[in-house]
Symmetry: C2
Subunit: 325 residues, 2 copies
């Protein structure tokens, strides 16, 4: 049984906090954030000691119509630069690119010409070969890369071991454990993290965790997997993210003992920008419909529809989920 | 390092689920539940497989004015019987009595004449001698007893070891780890649970856990301490309880694998009774002000006032907490 690394009082130098508010939160409002919101969040993250800020997706403009989304679905170089200039801060800039839903061979500059530092390659477990091809291409352009294996709670052990072996043979820097359905508990999230860490440590790679809050466990799973050696921690302001949302940055910054992390700057942003965003009708966060899909270990799409339709007939909804198992 | 007991797939025969909705939730509405609410919750708990239902406090009618509270602050025998009759169900009936705020020598019948099965004695750690005196008295009346040591996150290790030794020498049946301030993380909640369990196992006693949701960890801490051997688990419908509330019963019932536990009955109750209760203006649950007091390991009283005053100036409030540390 793997031991915990560090303890609740100490600082772990390997820890990196990534703010995914615009990217995962953008799934709640089609990436339609005001320029002021994004600029203030950028400044806030720098003040709060956040290590990486994810600006959104590099989605294919062939597959997706630009008019249907805010600009952070596409993260053009000039749009990021309009916020960060040359990003003279210590905080690094990340974007996400989905396997099969981006044009990575045309849409990425060499890193030396870009303000982007890291590309996070998201895929399902059967797409690992395609992910590795993307990772090698982006690595050769000079980027830090991660591979975010989504929906891992539905993968079987053999698949996962093979996927991890392929990634450990690749140039990827960080392998992410992603609880897309919010169905993991601290106990099995930690067991999975130990599997990732055992593979990663042999090949000098880091492991990250990205949680969802369907069972109110996003923060708990983040700090539990952290305690066993996970280093890259995703969080968002007020947990803003698809469906039940993610690990709340304010919980995470309040937990971490490294004095570089500063909660108060984030509180100012929350009060000034997040509360009005919620009041404007953008919806995310824990609710029963997401608890159901988390408990049943399935995609939250029906729960998102239930939310969008302003329904509160939880019993009928729960029965319909059991009917469609 | 203590191992986990059982696993995520199995059933642990020692587990007992206690519904504390009327008792801890009553702190949100001065125990003013309708008779219909309490009666339907009683039926729901039986259908859901809940092992104990806590009806409220046995508070002193000298110290507290009956007109200021609903009847579940006092839990008179006839009031409980008006709901449960002779309680012919398998579910047991519990009440809580606070050390120093009850008249236990006059207000308890012998168990053979009462419908109450268990008395939970709540105290702070410096009140253990008084708690033990109460426990022995109530044990001699025939009741099952627990000792709920509140605010344990502020006790030091020596105090705690002495308290546990005194309780292990007493007639108490269950010793509760109570995270009154919602300041524990799964890691230190589990370490504390192991300390309780090591003491309790030598003397044939059980250990319980009662969480608060200040850092969104009430459920996580409940199932983590469970995994190391805690047996008695407190939860409430929709987490209703003082301040940030408690572990949500629906999360717990969805987690436990014993087929005796039934989520659907509870959902029906939530839809019919809890949603209207919330809509009527009774307030509880996770919010930033409670996160602050949890992170700072202190009583939520200022956060409760902040809530009662409908404030949303979180930054000012946070600064005021730091000023009064």
């Amino acid at each position: 049984m793997a031991q915990r690394k560090g303890n609740l009082m100490g600082v772990r130098a390997d820890v990196k906090v990534l703010d995914a508010t615009i990217r995962d939160g953008g799934l709640c409002n089609k990436f339609r954030f005001t320029d002021e919101f994004v600029t203030e969040l950028y400044k806030t993250n720098i003040k709060s000691g956040v290590d990486y800020m994810e600006f959104g997706y590099k989605a294919s403009r062939d597959l997706f119509n630009e008019a249907d989304f805010g600009k952070w679905k596409f993260c053009k170089e000039e749009d990021i630069r309009s916020v960060v200039g040359d990003n003279i801060s210590d905080m690094k800039i990340a974007v996400m690119a989905d396997v099969g839903r981006c044009d990575y061979k045309t849409d990425f500059l060499p890193r030396s010409e870009s303000v982007i530092d890291m590309v996070r390659v998201a895929c399902y477990i059967h797409q690992i070969p395609a992910a590795v091809e993307m990772i090698e291409y982006l690595h050769n352009l000079g980027y830090e890369t991660t591979c975010n294996i989504m929906a891992v709670s539905q993968a079987n052990t053999n698949q996962l071991e093979e996927a991890l072996a392929m990634l450990c043979d690749s140039s990827v820097d960080v392998i992410y454990l992603v609880d897309s359905y919010g169905s993991l508990y601290p106990e099995n999230a930690s067991d999975l993290a130990k599997t990732y860490l055992a593979a990663a440590e042999q090949s000098g790679k880091q492991v990250g965790f990205h949680g969802h809050n369907n069972q109110n466990l996003a923060f708990a799973n983040t700090i539990e997997t952290l305690s066993y050696g996970v280093s890259y921690l995703d969080a968002t302001a007020q947990g803003m993210g698809r469906g039940a949302g993610n690990c709340a940055m304010e919980l995470l910054l309040g937990f971490l003992k490294n004095p570089k992390y500063n909660l108060y700057s984030l509180l100012t942003f929350i009060e000034k920008y997040m509360l009005p965003l919620k009041a404007s009708g953008v919806v995310w966060g824990y609710d029963l419909q997401y608890m159901f899909t988390g408990q049943l270990n399935r995609h939250p799409r029906e729960a998102m529809t239930f939310t969008a339709e302003n329904r509160s007939d939880y019993c009928e909804f729960y029965k319909s989920l059991l009917d469609n198992f």
